[in-house]
Amino acid sequence: MSDARDGVPEEAADGEDATPDGGHAATTPSTHTVRLELVDEPGQLLAALHPIADNGGNLLSIYHERGNKTPRGRIPVEVDFEATQERFEGIVEALRSEGVNVMQAGTERYAEEVTILLFGHLIDTDLSDSLSRIEACESASVADVSLAAPQGTEQASSARLRLEARAGETEAALAAVRELADEKDLRLVEPLTGVEA
């Protein structure tokens, strides 16, 4: 089961004392979001939901992004459910032992999703450092990255990033990316947020 432990959020892995609200978190149900990656075959979604229900999770919503594909060509599914912290850990373990790829699991509910493009010398300016710096700005996490470097790694390349931002913090997340782009002389194409209709 050591594989499964890798997927458990750090604060949980560090033991109950490390959770921000102490002992309550272990017994009070709270909302959790897991992002799963499913193969596009019949029955896959149901197979992924069983471990959640069977281990005491109360399903709230399922967002099956059929139009989207993960970089590995699979379908991302976001599942919200209620569970205590202890049961949440059990659910993530159960999902992994069933062979479901859990891309992201956390108690944080990312309410807003925003897609951006970056282009320029992404690779020369250390793409993984750029991504970790976006992750480090507490407003958002990088959910998905697609890179295109048609002329090799030394020429200008482009990346599409899907960021998941906390409710009301999309602007703060974009500001962090803007600052990073400025510093590394990258160009940023922002979405027209709040306008899409």
Partner: protein, 328 residues
């Protein structure tokens, strides 16, 4: 109305050509070096022979044998300022409009320079004149952007945004559709006459920014109780990024995700911003080719979208002549 048309490019020539159809009479036409002024204004046949003006401009590069100053001094009701847009002091367009207003005549501008760079000065001249200014043709060609904002009332418009440059939009559309790079599509656009030999004004976002600056001035001055409190915008107040370095690979990544990139201009009474932005591929703002779209965000009436031809002689002339009609 009796019109004096200053500027004999595509827009000026179309105004001369179409004025009669709208019930107006052209009494003078000037370009930078020559002019033609009608002898008398007694009947509807006494105006300038518009066919002859257009023919002379095409054949000899002049509009007539008179001096450009004579056109400014002619007996007109409305001066049509259709000289090329200039930045900074916006001359000579600004002086042409000033001359008209000081003579208590109206001025209709197709030239963005004076309204974008010297809006406050223009307002001052209008205050001291019996003449009015109108400038629908400066924003979005045939699209009635300014008059729609005025109809809704600028105080009830929170933002105006849109695709306001057909050349940049054509390039982005072709890059996305054909998977080609900027340089390749630019060359194609130049061959088709969609882009100029020096495309900087369009692809660097300057043209779209000027239009947004004009809209910001309309919003700011229109919403202020006292014009003295209104914030005046010029190009220097705009945050502008162009499309020159957008790689084809970025457009491909956007398309994979059901999105595309458009050069979007946004104006509020406080800010002006022009930049390439990600928009849904089939969304309202993702107009194709040289089309323009203006999206108006209102307090009580939701969102309005008006799309259409953002450039072209007859299209822009129709906006000019619409303005002339509003002055009657």
């Amino acid at each position: 109305m009796r019109l004096a048309v200053v500027g004999a490019g595509a827009v000026g020539r179309s105004v001369v050509d179409l004025a009669g159809e709208y019930g107006h009479e052209v009494v003078a036409v000037a370009d930078s070096s020559s002019a033609v002024v009608a002898d008398g204004v007694d009947s509807r046949h006494s105006g300038v022979d518009s066919d002859a003006v257009v023919a002379r401009k095409a054949e000899r590069g002049i509009v007539g044998d008179d001096d450009p100053e004579d056109a400014l001094a002619a007996d007109y009701d409305v001066l049509i300022e259709a000289t090329p847009t200039t930045l900074g002091d916006a001359e000579p367009g600004f002086s042409h409009v000033r001359t008209a207003l000081e003579r208590d005549r109206h001025a209709v501008l197709a030239n963005k320079g004076p309204v974008a760079e010297r809006f406050g000065d223009l307002r001052g001249l209008v205050d001291d004149s019996d003449g009015e200014i109108r400038f629908e043709a400066t924003v979005g060609g045939a699209i009635p952007a300014v008059s729609t904002v005025e109809d809704i009332e600028p105080g009830h418009v929170t933002a105006v945004r849109g695709v306001l440059n057909g050349t940049a939009n054509f390039i982005l559309t072709r890059m996305a559709a054909e998977g080609l790079d900027y340089e390749h599509v630019l060359a194609e656009a130049q061959d088709l006459g969609v882009a100029e030999a020096d495309p900087s004004f369009d692809v660097d976002g300057t043209d779209a920014a000027l239009k947004c600056v004009i809209l910001a001035n309309v919003l700011s001055f229109g919403a202020a109780d006292d014009p003295a409190d209104a914030r005046e915008f010029t190009l220097a107040d705009a945050d502008v990024e162009g499309i020159r370095d957008v790689p084809g690979s970025a457009l491909r990544l956007a398309a994979e995700d059901g999105r595309t990139v458009r050069l979007i201009g946004e104006a509020t009474g406080e800010t002006v911003r022009v930049a390439p932005r990600l928009v849904p591929e089939n969304g309202t703002l993702a107009v194709s080719g040289t089309q323009n779209i203006v999206q108006i965000e209102t307090t009580h009436a939701g969102r309005l979208n008006i799309s259409g031809r953002g450039a072209g002689g007859p299209e822009t002339a129709s906006a000019v002549l619409g303005d002339v009609g509003r002055l009657e």
